[in-house]
């Protein structure tokens, strides 16, 4: 194990996979000479050269399509979106081509493609640069969607995504790039897609949360422990496929659940997980499943409004108390 940042873990995963497989290449805006808008690709151009670290003009649909075409004939592209907000310009390529070519061709052509970059709420970047994008992708059959919360997961899941034979949407976060953690140095360390992890064990309530929300849920859990509420935190890590077994297993133990997501709540991941829990474990529940989500509004710029838009530690703690019927009565 080595201690490194989330950014360094991603960089290491890319370096290891570029070294392991000559068919892997990185393509996107500012990935080479500039070394990445968020420096995830730092040093790669120098180490692997311009053939494999490919700078593109600003043409998201164009270079995403290039990735899909190259993948169809056997290369393994890692397409960087400078931020996932720009992936909307390539949404048709992702939804109508990458996700469907294997199916429409009756299994003849597959698309081993990773599209990665930061997404989700960031600090005062306003409506167009600070939003949760996973909802646009996990709805589509044929796409896998990953949201890694820790440096270890960033490395292990990115390597799994690159080795996967299907298109994988891999959404990082600007707010996590500097988070430090332990990371295995074994170049064959991978975390299979579709496996949730229990971040914190508890007995009274299950909280499902990922990315920045997972860290806020951890803070809320520490605080509630002082009040005698024992919180279990499940991080799904991959949203498609979603490890419902781990989530349901935890709920069967705690009998209560809160789902947290940064994005707007309407028809979001929280709705999906709450439904899965209700359908699978209704008789195990001692309280309705609650969601803590971003407000149904675009992300505002002003600091106070941004805070109002986003789930906070306090909002999460409040929801946990409510499912425990511990609000106000203690």
């Amino acid at each position: 194990m080595a201690v490194m940042t989330y950014r360094e873990a991603l960089n290491l995963a890319l370096r290891e996979e570029l070294t392991r497989d000559p068919n892997v290449f990185v393509i996107g805006e500012e990935v080479g000479l500039y070394e990445g808008a968020y420096k995830v690709t730092q040093g790669l151009l120098k180490e692997f050269g311009p053939k494999r670290i490919v700078d593109t003009p600003i043409a998201e649909s164009g270079f995403t399509g290039v990735g899909i075409g190259a993948a169809m004939v056997g290369l393994r592209p890692v397409v960087e979106m400078m931020t996932f907000n720009f992936a909307l310009l390539a949404l048709d390529q992702i939804v109508n081509s990458a996700a469907k070519l294997h199916y429409m061709s009756g299994g003849q052509y597959n698309v081993p493609l990773v599209i990665r970059g930061p997404g989700g709420p960031a600090h005062q970047l306003a409506a167009q640069h600070s939003q949760s994008m996973e909802v646009y992708f996990y709805h589509v059959p044929g796409l896998k969607v990953v949201r890694p919360s820790t440096p270890m997961d960033a490395k292990g899941l990115l390597k799994a995504a690159i080795r996967d034979d299907n298109p994988v949407i891999f959404i990082e976060s600007e707010t996590l790039y500097n988070v430090k953690g332990e990371v295995p140095e074994d170049p064959d360390f991978v975390i299979p897609l579709g496996q949730a992890v229990v971040r914190r064990e508890g007995t009274d309530v299950t909280v499902v949360a990922y990315m920045g929300m997972m860290y806020r849920a951890m803070e809320a859990a520490e605080e509630l422990a002082k009040d005698g509420i024992s919180v279990e935190i499940v991080d799904p890590r991959s949203l498609q496929p979603l490890d419902t077994a781990t989530i349901i297993g935890s709920v069967r133990k705690t009998h209560r659940a809160v789902v947290v997501e940064a994005g707007a709540g309407f028809a979001g991941m929280g709705s999906e997980i709450a439904t899965e829990i209700t359908e699978e474990a209704f008789d195990d529940l001692d309280a309705p499943v609650l969601r803590v989500t971003g407000a149904q509004a675009p992300m505002p710029y002003a600091r106070n409004l941004e805070r109002a838009k986003t789930p906070t530690k306090e909002k999460i703690a409040d929801a946990i108390r409510r499912v425990c019927y511990a609000n106000g009565s203690r």
Binding site: F25, K51, T56, P57, A59, S61, G62, F63, T64, G65, V66, G67, I68, G69, A70, A71, M72, V73, G74, L75, P77, D92, Q93, N96, S97, L101, H102, Y103, M104, S105, G106, G107, Q108, Y109, N110, P141, G142, K144, R163, D164, D165, N166
Partner: protein, 336 residues
């Protein structure tokens, strides 16, 4: 002797009997195949959208005639001909149109999504413009691996106003990718004429914008198509230069079977006038007059093609529907 007659090359055509036979056969195959598909559609054996390329056969026949089997082709939803001439078994193409398990994609793609990996036919893409960046990606992969194949990318005039046309042409020119951009200009994007869609209706001139070789081509003349694509392929193979060819053609039928007459947005007189340039009739006259092929040769080709297409229809009709389990296969590729 007829045999001796057919071996004689036509002066100035650069055309021997074998090539003449192949080009005529390929164009006729597309025509008969699509005529039969239209009949099957009327009988309800083919559903959804069915887009015919009748009138445009010289493009697929001429262009494919200069490709190697290991070259790639990629196309739109009007792709039956492109797929058939690239080498696909007409029986499996027809079975795909019928939605049957012996179709190229087990019936899961249909008329608009023909794929044939064995023959490097990369699909049948039905979002206008979307496959152009994908074609650039295939060209990227060829160059990445140091190969000398080319990608032939067919698209319609309707794709030219799309952003992806410009993104893809720019990337292929910028990175020198071996892609032949072949615009089948049939003058109507569905019902919108060129003049109502493009500020620059000389589509080949966009090639000049991106600094790549480009030219207009008579798409009703199979030999002109063959020559122009041949030049582009040779250049792309040699030095990875892409090219833009504006191949001027005409679809005799409507946009799809749901627009059978194509009569709202163009005049009957125009359609009749264009039918005088029928690429199959023009080429047949051209090879019969100097005696490159005999009447008997032509009859035999017609009979062989008719038999092949009849067999394709019978095969498709006899093929079962895909089993219900196919709904959930091929969504993801299972990793080894």
């Amino acid at each position: 002797m007829a045999k001796a007659m057919t071996q004689k090359a036509a002066p100035g055509l650069g055309l021997d009997a074998d090539l003449a036979r192949k080009l005529l056969r390929d164009m006729l195959l597309i025509r008969r195949f699509e005529e039969k598909a239209a009949e099957a559609y009327a009988l309800g054996k083919i559903g959804g959208f069915l887009h015919l390329s009748i009138g445009e056969e010289a493009v697929a026949a001429g262009a494919t005639s200069v490709l190697r089997p290991d070259d790639y082709a990629i196309s739109t939803y009007r792709e039956h001909g492109h797929c058939l001439i690239k080498g696909s078994d007409p029986r499996r193409v027809m079975a795909e149109l019928f939605g049957r398990v012996d179709g190229l994609s087990k019936g899961k793609g249909g008329s608009m999504h023909l794929f044939d990996k064995e023959h490097n036919f990369l699909g049948g893409h039905a979002i206008v413009g979307a496959h152009l960046p994908i074609a650039a990606g295939v060209g990227f992969a060829i160059k990445y691996r140091g190969g000398d194949q080319v990608v032939l990318c067919y698209f319609g005039d309707g794709a030219v106003p799309e952003g992806e046309f410009h993104e893809a042409l720019n990337l292929a020119a910028l990175w020198k990718l071996p892609v032949i951009w072949l615009c089948e200009n049939n003058r109507y994007a569905m019902g919108t004429s060129l003049e109502r869609a493009l500020a620059q209706t000389e589509i080949w001139k966009f090639g000049e914008t991106y600094g790549i070789p480009s030219e207009p081509v008579d798409g009703m003349d199979v030999l002109a198509v063959r020559a122009a694509v041949g030049r582009a392929v040779e250049r792309a193979r040699r030095d990875k230069t892409p090219a833009l060819l504006e191949v001027r053609t005409y679809r005799f039928r409507g946009h799809s079977m749901r627009d059978p007459a194509g009569a709202v947005y163009r005049t009957k007189e125009e359609v009749e006038r264009e039918k005088l340039r029928d690429p199959i009739l023009l080429f047949r006259d051209r090879v019969l007059k100097p005696g490159v092929l005999s009447e008997d040769d032509v009859k035999k080709i017609e009979k062989d093609v008719n038999d092949l297409v009849d067999e394709a229809v019978a095969f498709a009709d006899a093929s079962p529907e895909p089993p219900a389990s196919e709904l959930f296969t091929d969504i993801f590729k299972e990793s080894a």
